[in-house]
Amino acid sequence: MHNECSLVSTSSEHGLLSSQPVAGLMESFLSRNRNPLMLLAVVLAQLLGLAVQVRRPTADNSSHQTRLIRYWVVSLISPFERVFLFVGHGVSHTWDDYVDLRHVRAQNQQLQAELNRMRLEQSALAEDARQDIRLQKLLSFQQNYISKTVAGHVIGTSGTDLSRVVYIDKGFDNGIRTDMPVITPDGVVGKIRAVFPHTAQVLEINDQTSGLGVILTRTRLRGILRGTTDGRTEITDILPDERIQPGEQVITSGGDQVYPSGLPVGVVERIVPDPEQNSDVALLIKPAVNLSRLDEVLVITQTQDTVPSTMQQDVSTSEQRAADVLAQRLPGALPPPDVGPDGKPLNANSPPPPVRPPAPLHPDRFTPGATPPADDLKPGAAYQKQMFAPQSPANGTTQPGRAAQPSTAVSKPTATPTSKTQQEPQN
């Protein structure tokens, strides 16, 4: 009986427990932890309210304002991302710079050859560029040149496909400001959207809130490149034009006052009907930069309307180096080395003397130096045949092994008396 009673009481207790409403459980929980929960809820609510409502200006004191909570979260997350990036780069740099050095010598030679070729090309293009600048000045055309950039590492993303933003490890303290363009050597990445003291948020060009003024290089059509919800880039509101073909390059137009003109953006991938305007087409653009695998980026912190001094130095250096490269390919174009009286180079490391054409065996009136100076000639006087003396170098040195040949040559001509008189000064 006792057992039965206990069983009944136990089952009834379980039944009570299982049928106890959730509100009751919560009430007991709240009553047991009322004080700390109340404190936590009040503090948390105030913190959240503060964080959501308060907007503080960005680090560069621009018109953009950022919610306080964004500062907090970025300040909390970015140190971890920096540590991971630092460790990852340390390992990869150790491996790349000290261990994995196979084929480096061959690659170095290949790059050197490529550099020489590029210098030749740059030298050839320099004159065109100078002419372009002169014409732009004549037309009062404002052109912005990139004069200063800051390199940054990408340390994080938004974590969602809906927001195509990345974070870089450079911020206000590094000179980064909002709306500065972000690029890589391949092309445009996006622009700075928010600046924190040591971090900055970059809005990529494939975000759906992004807009970028572009121009098609061949057809010179202008448009606005926008991101789509699925992370692609497209130019909409384009009138159908048969000249537009896939593969055409797209560059920045500079009209948006954010990006300097001429930066590569991508290439036309496909031409599709515009979903919003039936009469128009949309161009799907393949970005020049792989936006899903960003590592290092450059933030353009300064532009100017004249060619930067560094670029001028690069061009002049390229022209000089191009001359050197050409001189190596054309031995006759080498500058005269420092040679002694015996014709041997003074410096052992200096290149050998250039090869000169041999002295003529039979000098004639066309031989360089054989024609008398214009002061010695009289107007209207008959041309007199001359004795041709052997040529001697201007510096008084003779080339070894060649001085004896002309002397035998001068004995042959049938000299007239007048020609003898002209020969006297040389004797």
Partner: protein
Amino acid sequence: MSLLYPNSRREMEEHRFHPLVLILVPLLAIFFQAYLPLRFPSVGFLNVPVLVVIYFSVSRRSPIGGTLLGMIIGIIQDALTHLPLGVNGIIDCILGYLAASIGLRIDVDNPGTRLIMNFTFILLASILHVLILRRLLGIHEQWYGLHEVVRAVVNGLIGVVLFALLDRLRQRQ
């Protein structure tokens, strides 16, 4: 297999965790969600913070706790984007509440149940996401049905493994 099959006798218990676990695991989930896509872009397919919200809500079986946890994690997720704060906050707190409510009623320690639950919740999160963007923010977000279903399946499978790992962090009563 024992990893995937925790002791189901304790299915109706309210599992407890060390406070550090409750703080660090969500932060780690958010961190990896933000950092890993840099190295592995396909990781963006996952939604680890939502899986963590579901797990803790189900385990603690507290609708209010699940709501608060979902709100906090969601707002942190929003803060990393350039979108208005609250999109993921609303989604995650709804999911946290629902997950905690379900955890009070059914056995959620079974891997099969977890798979179905994760699949359903991730799909629900996608639907809520599109609804909030379209109705509240006026952003025309495309809905790719098959893509979202595949995403829900993948997240469901990942969630089963993740839940089994997180089971190891429970405190024995």
